[in-house]
């Protein structure tokens, strides 16, 4: 009887695993080169994402807030920084849909979409980042996970001009988070993420590589 067949299975499994690891490593070329390349030569923008500022007021009482969350979220935008100030994020909710953008204003960014159910947000990006949060009328509290790191946040509801803006042209996608204190954080991604040029929040216009673009406010039911 097949004394050897388990060894054959074992060998086939090892070869299969190795094959999939190689397939994975070929995927690194596009995505990780763009995230691993330091963009030190890029001129700093006026958004000044590195400048420490007063953190958005974090409602500490929010955890005890509403006893029964509504089944669909009222249209709202939450914006602020992660607890460790590594990145900024904005979340827009509309009905049972939600969209979010997380970026550090330099080279890290993620566009996420997902659902709102019973006070809970669950969002994911096409590249594997995840965001979960509990939302109340005034705040969103939760975690953002990217390639092995977890960033926690507690951000407040924000009214215009604070919010989340997105613009696309033929070569790049630009995301801006306008924080409640008026500061902007954004990333211009044409394959290599770089700091975004300043956005005029009144006209929602910006100039990207010499060409004007108009940004749209993200409301939550986008699909990206």
């Amino acid at each position: 009887m097949g004394q050897r067949s388990p060894l054959v299975t074992l060998a086939a499994t090892a070869v299969g695993l190795l094959g999939f690891m190689v397939v994975n490593s070929t995927q690194t070329g596009t995505s990780s080169s763009s995230t691993a390349t330091p963009t030190s030569t890029v001129t700093p923008t006026t958004s000044g994402s590195a400048t420490p500022s007063t953190p958005p007021e974090t409602p500490t009482t929010s955890t005890t807030a509403p006893p029964k969350p509504p089944t669909v979220a009222p249209p709202a935008v939450y914006a602020g920084r992660t607890n460790d100030h590594v990145a900024s994020l904005a979340i827009a909710t509309k009905g049972d849909r939600a969209a979010a953008y997380v970026c550090d204003g330099r080279r890290l960014e993620a566009w996420l979409t997902g659902t709102y159910r019973n006070g809970r947000l669950a969002l994911s990006s096409k590249t594997g980042e995840r965001l979960t949060a509990t939302i109340t009328n005034t705040a969103a509290t939760g975690t953002f996970t990217l390639s092995g790191r977890t960033l926690r946040f507690a951000i407040a509801k924000a009214g215009p001009p604070a919010g989340l803006y997105r613009a696309r042209n033929s070569t790049s996608t630009i995301g801006w988070i306008v924080l409640p204190d008026g500061k902007q954080v954004g990333v211009d991604n044409d394959g290599t993420p770089a700091p975004a040029p300043p956005l005029d929040p009144a006209t929602r216009k910006a100039t990207v590589n010499g060409a004007p673009v108009t940004a749209q406010a993200v409301v939550g039911d986008e699909t990206f």
Partner: protein
């Protein structure tokens, strides 16, 4: 110790220690390799996380077939042996794209209890798989060894499913 005893001891020790080495090696690789965070996406699925979820679910179902067919084998139905072999091979094959992504893109993590348990079980699963395959090749192994390693393999697989796919389904809904 007589030669027979030594032989009996090695028939247990060799599969188990090789399995343990594989488990530790996977864990060390998962910890040392810088997670890339990249994901291949498959058409028809919302993200590779969803692909992994469904592959893990397929593997878990095949794991149930494994359990049922193993019970039948021990009750004296040798007819199910090919089913047991091939469902096992299929189950492990289904996990390969999943583990490749886990190891390469995410790595061994311990931020949350769920993730820690999942990482540990993932390493343990392949160690148990290696131990089981090696046990099968040894006719001199004691009778209890095969059901023990097989049971460990099944338990790890179900634990992996509970800490990943079930979490995904309850968090994001049953989506593709």
């Amino acid at each position: 110790m007589s030669t027979a005893q030594v032989q009996k001891a090695t028939s247990v020790a060799v599969p188990l220690s090789v399995g343990a080495l594989v488990a530790v090696a996977l864990g060390v690789y998962g910890r040392l390799h810088d997670p890339t965070g990249v994901a291949i996406n498959l058409a028809g699925f919302s993200s590779f996380l969803a692909v992994k979820t469904w592959l893990a679910t397929l593997a878990a179902v095949l794991g149930l077939v494994q359990l049922a067919s193993a019970v039948a084998l021990y009750r004296g139905h040798p007819k199910v042996a090919p089913l047991h072999r091939w469902s096992g091979r299929a189950a492990v094959a289904a996990t390969l794209p999943v583990v490749a992504h886990c190891l390469y893109a995410l790595g061994f993590q311990y931020d949350e209890p769920r993730i820690l348990i999942h990482s540990l079980l993932g390493c343990f699963f392949y160690g148990a798989f290696v131990a089981k395959m090696l046990t099968l090749t040894r006719t001199d192994a004691p009778k209890w060894l095969l059901p023990v390693v097989g049971g460990a393999l099944f338990t790890a697989l179900i634990g992996l499913w509970l800490t990943s796919a079930l979490w995904f389904f309850t968090t994001f809904g049953v989506i593709r």
